[in-house]
């Protein structure tokens, strides 16, 4: 039987639809998640989310399950946190992760901490879907990654799928999870096609994905850059270099075991991350390996990241800014040439 191929956008939409069918407590909240609210029926669902991810949910589930909000992230994020703590399982859309600054109190001080501060008496089964990443000439306030900041916060979980299959399975897990989960959708992946089963399935949180096994170098990469790392690995494979590529799709919990086991076999590490380098997923993985597999290393770990600057607008600058497969390949070669 031919495997069905759908886009990353469609995979997320399907996960939402199936989870909303399965559980009446799942609701969708956000800015223009339908669009055209209050207008005649033919003008409603005008957007279905600014990237069309939630399209059709209003028609299927009605306004009691799909809530368009004012442009008011602190307001609706707080409502989603409060609703999660008192009986619903909301999926709130934050249009761009760069906007988290205007609702960070509700994420970091409320969603992440209520359970702890109340001595375990609350749970906050909230999913925040948000858009990350550059490459679409959207400049500094619509191109950031920022998941390292969210991963830094105890009480939040964070995932960043790199393909349609993972997007569906991880969103299902995020929605069913009883803790708040930040679900990071890369802006450049929405039209990516991939094989996705129609039936509902869940990919457990906390599991990395070994995309390509290898023996010479371990590359840990996140979100879209996992695909870029895979391209680099394929190129180097032609030169006889065997690269293991691990998609660190679950940022928190992080699958330390898979990463450490790989480095203990390959003795070399490259981390590829689109987030800015200081206090990042990249530096965190390097620190993890330095602490727990130091003696296994045959060369210094490499980080392939953007420079520590905001995301630039102009194409030549942005193309320089975002790590390329060529840069990943250079870093891999560097770990093979250098010795500790």
């Amino acid at each position: 039987m031919a495997k069905r191929e759908i886009t990353y956008r469609e995979a997320i939409n399907e996960a939402l639809r199936q989870e909303m069918e399965r559980d009446p407590d799942v609701i969708v909240i956000g800015e223009d998640v339908a669009g055209g609210a209050g207008l005649p029926p033919e003008m409603q669902d005008a957007f279905g989310g600014v990237f069309g991810v939630t399209k059709g949910l209003l028609g299927k589930f009605g306004p009691g399950r799909v809530w368009d909000t004012p442009i008011s992230e602190a307001g609706y994020m707080g409502a989603a946190v409060g609703a999660a703590a008192t009986g619903l399982r909301p999926v709130a859309e934050l249009m761009f992760v760069s906007f988290m600054g205007v609702c960070l109190d509700q994420l970091s001080n409320q969603a992440a901490k209520l359970r702890y501060m109340f001595g375990g008496k609350a749970k906050v089964p909230l999913t925040v879907r948000t858009v990350i990443g550059g490459g679409v000439r959207a400049a500094g306030q619509h191109s950031t990654i920022d998941y390292s900041m969210l991963t830094h916060i105890p009480g939040l979980k964070c995932v960043a799928p790199s393909n349609p299959y993972d997007a569906k399975g991880l969103l299902v897990s995020a929605i069913r999870d009883d803790d708040p989960v930040i679900f990071c959708e890369h802006i450049q992946l929405y039209n990516m096609k991939g094989s996705v089963p129609e039936e509902n399935y869940a990919i457990p949180l906390g599991q990395a994905h070994v995309m390509r096994p290898g023996t010479d170098v371990t590359v840990v990469a996140f979100s879209r850059l996992a695909l870029v790392a895979l391209t680099a690995a394929e190129q180097l494979g032609k030169d006889g270099i065997s690269v293991e590529v691990i998609d660190g799709r679950s940022l928190s919990p992080l699958d330390e075991g898979t990463i450490l086991a790989s480095v203990r076999r390959t003795h070399r590490l490259v981390v590829v991350d689109e987030d800015t380098p200081r206090c990042s997923m990249a530096s965190d993985v390097v620190a993890l390996v330095a602490r727990k597999a130091f003696l296994a290393l045959h060369s210094a770990p490499q980080m392939v990241t953007p420079p520590h600057t905001p995301v630039p607008y102009s194409p030549p600058m942005e193309d320089f800014y975002i790590p390329s497969s060529q840069r990943v390949a250079e870093a891999i070669r560097a770990t093979l040439e250098a010795r500790v």
């Binding site: 609701i27 707080g78 409060g82 619903l88 109190d105 008496k121 979980k157």
Partner: protein
Amino acid sequence: MPLVSKEKLHWAYERMTLIRAFEEKLHQLIPQHRLPGFAHLSAGQEAVAVGVCAHLDDKDFVTSTHRGHGHCIAKGLEVGAMMAELYGKSTGCSKGKGGSFHIADLDRGMLGTNGIVGAGLPLACGPALVAKVKGTRQVAASFFGEGATNQGAFHEATNLASVWKLPVLFVCENNLYSEATPVEYAIKITNIADRADAYGIPGVIVDGMDFFDVYEKALQAVERARNGEGPTLLEAKTYRYFGHYEGDAMKYRAREEEQKYSARDPTTNFKRRVLAEGLLGALEFEAIEKKAVATIEAAVKAAEQAPWPRPEECLADVYVTYP
């Protein structure tokens, strides 16, 4: 005076007296360093908490503030577990992980005191949304100070609740000072209730020193919410007897002003009026007062004798599951 049942009057005086006794006891204990942390006391504001919560049951949720002991007691939380929480003991209602800023009991509809000014307003829209989605008649109430109405969260939450017609009461306790800053400096309108106009919801001024005025106007707001007519902003004009925090020398306000408000003390006035109407007798009042003091003394004794949490307990309850 609105018609209030004898049982409700008894309950209201019992709760107000318990709040007063709780806060006055802390006012004694904190300078003696008998408990860790710091506290913001709500003595003087009892009528607001009790007058609003009189219309709520355990299924109705409340969000509160840094000055939240009164809201918790009015919502029916057990003062022994609250006191133990302030002492940081393992028997505390949040197992010693929250302290005064994070007292919660979801079974009693208390979604927490809160350390962030204004944060409770968006949170209260949550249970109100749950009520709307599930079609129950539950309501939510959010207490906050006048200072919170300068936060974006106030404006976002009131607008959102108005847009979605949520069953929620926004209860502003205007006690005239945000920390040490007078309301006249930080807010350039006389009545905070007027801010409701900006969001198309009713704004109602309440005498926060008068239980009966709060009770009557809160009832209207709760009925409006339960009937699906949307949110109300109540502005309770009130006063805190103690400082912003315990240890505050209160150089920013005049002793004459304090005397003016203590002459309108909500518990004393309640008692005088109820006695005059013959609804409760002097002996009943005396029994309630004695019981409140005894309850608080017992809570302190139990909290002082309770065990500390084990240090490694700090590792628990971050997540439900991880991974």
